[in-house]
């Protein structure tokens, strides 16, 4: 779903189903809570269907269409009857928007998949393009840089929206790294099937991040973020890594990705 | 013969070709009408604007362009070009009436002029063009009894004499002219030449003069009255 200029006014109190994504659900729930906050602040009524698991991308990209469809059916079932489905991930949203229709072409669920695809959005582009959010009330002083995750950028056209919203965060200075649009080397199973090549790619990305002078790295996909955080930390870098939703929602108490929780004084 | 049959058969099978499916007619039609596809706006110019575009595009890709007002100025322009580049006053010309008719003896008496196909020792060739395309500063030359192709490639320096009336905006206009001038068949070789020879094969550094000419000099004759 490319970001188009909607001259339509934002919907009133839409019922939005949060597609948490398996990575966020299991590895970093704070992103899910940030997404809920941003959606509610924008005037949405948020539900989180409990019967959701994964979008099916791992099976799909491994060539296992049958299992991909099987997993995708749980998504079709879980997200019935909602106005919108929003995911804090360009790759998961892209999977549903761009690939579900192809996955179910000629199958009984074809129409349902098309319908779901047409109401599914990545979080930041939903906020900007549908809910017409132009700014957030948030204070986060830092020199920051933004990595354009591939699916979000190339399948869904997400580039300008996160930068616009980040521009409204008080105290945040956004600098562009070199080659911001180049892949970070995660690629789902790629990073463990071809670890040396993945390492070469993420090393170049880490260099570009460090050379940007930023102290904070953001992106819209947790897989990319975990990959880049892991590499930066292995290199001894001090750059903090967070999901863009967490920054927009002002979640400063949350430790950055790969950092331990702060000890709370008793 | 059998491979031909096998290959065509394999193609027809893969495409699910049916007799009478209209495919052959579609092909006939496209070949017959040879319609233009999208032609960029860039070359849709006339007169001086068109010539200017041609000049600037040609210079952009390392050709040199010299504009003269009349035919009579061409020989001297060529002689001066050789002097400027420390080249001996010797050229191999295309045996073409447009070039032969220029006043070489009168206006450039010290210039040694020979005709014919290029000899490997020739340093400079002088040829006419069939057309020139402003879109990308491209010259169009073709083989023929009066225009040996070797003149375009063997010598290190290639001088091309172009008339304003030969300059068009887009490649499609060249095709129209080529078809009109050669209704039975295209000449053996049609060269579209855009700047001198170059290579980036050593560390992606651009170097001129790989195998073809190192220098391409275009003498553009303005015309008085109608082109």
């Amino acid at each position: 779903m490319a970001s188009e200029e909607h001259s339509v006014a934002p919907p009133k109190m839409p019922r939005v189903g949060l597609f948490v994504t398996c990575l966020v659900d299991l590895f970093r729930p704070s992103i899910g809570f940030a997404a809920v906050k941003l959606l509610e602040d924008a005037g949405c009524s948020v539900v989180v269907p409990s019967a959701q698991t994964c979008c099916g991308q791992p099976a799909y990209n491994s060539g296992d269409r049958k299992d991909a469809r099987g997993v995708a059916r749980t998504v079709l079932r879980a997200f019935r009857g909602l106005d919108y489905v929003v995911a804090p991930s360009g790759s998961c949203a892209g999977m549903i928007c761009e690939h579900y229709p192809k996955l179910f072409a000629g199958e009984p669920e074809e129409a349902e998949a098309e319908a779901l695809a047409s109401r599914t959005w990545e979080l930041i582009s939903f906020l900007a393009d549908v809910m017409k959010v132009e700014r957030v009330e948030c204070h986060w002083p830092a020199r920051a840089t933004y990595h354009d995750s591939c699916s979000g950028l190339r399948e869904l056209g997400i580039r300008q929206q996160p930068r616009q919203l980040l521009g409204s965060v008080e105290g945040l200075e956004l600098v562009e790294m070199a080659e911001a649009e180049v892949c970070c080397g995660f690629g789902g199973t790629f990073c463990v099937k071809y670890p040396e090549i993945s390492d070469s790619i993420v090393s170049k990305k880490a260099e570009n991040i460090e050379n940007s002078g930023a102290e904070l790295l953001m992106a819209g996909d947790l897989g990319c973020l975990m990959n880049m955080a892991g590499k930066l930390q292995r290199r001894g870098s001090r750059v903090e890594v967070r999901h863009v939703a967490e920054v927009l929602a002002g979640q400063q108490e949350e430790p950055a990705i790969g950092e331990p929780a702060k000890q709370v004084a008793k | 013969m059998s491979s031909r049959k096998a290959i065509l058969g394999a193609i027809r099978h893969s495409l699910g070709r049916q007799r009478g499916d209209g495919a052959e007619q579609a092909v006939e039609a496209r070949l017959r009408t040879h319609d233009r596809n999208l032609v960029p706006q860039r070359g849709c110019l006339e007169g001086e604007a068109l010539l200017s575009l041609f000049s600037s595009q040609a210079e952009r890709i390392d050709a040199t362009v010299e504009r003269v007002a009349t035919d009579a100025e061409v020989p001297e322009a060529v002689a001066e070009y050789l002097k400027r580049n420390n080249l001996p006053p010797r050229v191999r010309m295309a045996p073409h009436p447009d070039i032969q008719a220029l006043p070489w003896a009168e206006k450039a008496p010290l210039l040694e002029v020979a005709e014919g196909r290029a000899d490997p020792q020739d340093l400079v060739s002088v040829t006419p063009a069939f057309a020139a395309v402003a879109e990308t500063g491209t010259l169009v030359l073709h083989s023929g009894p009066q225009t040996p192709t070797t003149l375009n490639f063997l010598p290190e320096n290639h001088v091309v004499v172009v008339r304003a009336s030969q300059v068009v905006g887009a490649y499609e206009e060249v095709w129209d002219r080529l078809r009109a001038a050669n209704p039975a068949a295209l000449p053996r070789t049609v060269n579209m030449i855009t700047g001198p020879s170059r290579t980036g094969d050593i560390e992606q550094r651009l170097e001129l003069g790989a195998h073809g000419p190192r220098r391409l000099h275009i003498v553009l004759i303005a015309e008085e009255g109608d082109s």
């Binding site: 997993v71 892949c183 790629f190 | 083989s143 887009a170 095709w175 068949a185």
Partner: protein
Amino acid sequence: MQSTSHAFKQNAHRALHDPMLQKAMGHVRSGFIDKRVQAAARLPEFDQLRDQAKAIKDHTLAHLDHYLERYEAKVLEMGGKVHWCATAEEAREAVLSICRSLDARTVTKGKSMLSEEIALNEHLEANGIEPVETDLGEYIIQLRKEPPSHIIAPAVHVNKEQVEADFRRVHKNLPPERSLSEAAQLVDEARQVLRQRYLEADVGITGANFLIAETGTSVIVTNEGNGDLTQTLPKAHIVVASLEKVVPTLEDCATILRVLARSATGQEFSSYTTFSTGPRRPEDPDGPEEYHVILLDNGRSSMLGTEFQDMLRCIRCGACMNHCPVYHAVGGHSYGWVYPGPMGAVLTPSLIGVEEAGHLPNASTFCGRCEAVCPMRIPLPKMMRHWREREFEQHQAPAKARLAIEAWAFVAKRPRLYRWATSLLIGALGRAGRRRGRFRELPLAGGWTAHRDFPAPSGRSFQARWAEQQRRGRASR
């Protein structure tokens, strides 16, 4: 060419630890990419032209049999000959046979990936004929006895100092004290050395970027002029071209030409775009006396009508590999055969089988940059996925990977089982990683932790916390 694609991982390992290669690949990352962007910016209609180029090729492929017949008829009418070859072997034999009929001793060659595909040079050499590559990049790798590593810049993996060393080693007749430290000097030397070879050659062999059905014409696109000297000076000009090079008309060719050079090197048009139609005419003072077209199938006809048909639109510009992070990391030789990068990942399994070349479509992050820059709008990641599907269906993917995916899917289709199993897993990881927030080592995740730390999960899933929050929320009302 013998394939080492099955050894892609080992090839890549070597490439990643080769500092000279890594330095050379740095040039690819910047040069080509920036130039393409600039060229596209200077032509407002660029994207529309890409759409039209795609449409032209799609139309042609859907009518390929008829267009090939019309093309052949025109070539014959112009006095040329067409040799239809189903296989690489037939093509090699056809070329050899023509060379023999002319008692050819040396053959000059313009750059032709197809001639690599059919291993033409080795065949000629084995039969006492010397092929001389004239494209500077091809010449360099011929001296080094290496295959090309990029489809338009074959020596992109070679540094200037390496070229100097090769020239000194091979050009023994030239004064040893000569300076060769500058690129210009290397180019000049190649020009000098090859000039004599052009003049002596008995036969000239080129590829073809396009075959135009309307006029029976072959088109080559070069910058050096080597292809032109190759095809004009000798007694015979042989064109080696595969079936899908056909385009209908001169107008169609012009449209695709407008996107070719811009996508490849960022030039608006190459220095020499040459249209060759038949042998020389009786009145021509120069040109070849014979003109032969080797029309090769070698697997193309069986790609038609399949999910890989789109690959036949490829015009060999190289934009995909210029933008590919995997290609940048490992270079072209790692792919192990003639065609590297994304287009190689899709085409190679079609030509030599997915059993041999399976790694190529698997070694991709699906970042999609290739598709974004392809002038012919070829959906490269989609076709790589199709290869993965074929492998999966035929049980050719590694067993461990298959098992892992099936296990994940089994659990993911059952939300309650998923909740239970994952809470165990992340609970354990969360506890183990609490102190440092990340792992330097993790069993079963060695591929990750060899090079990166692994961020620890917090220990409780979002769903669990959300459910708890909802319960507390309801309880407090």
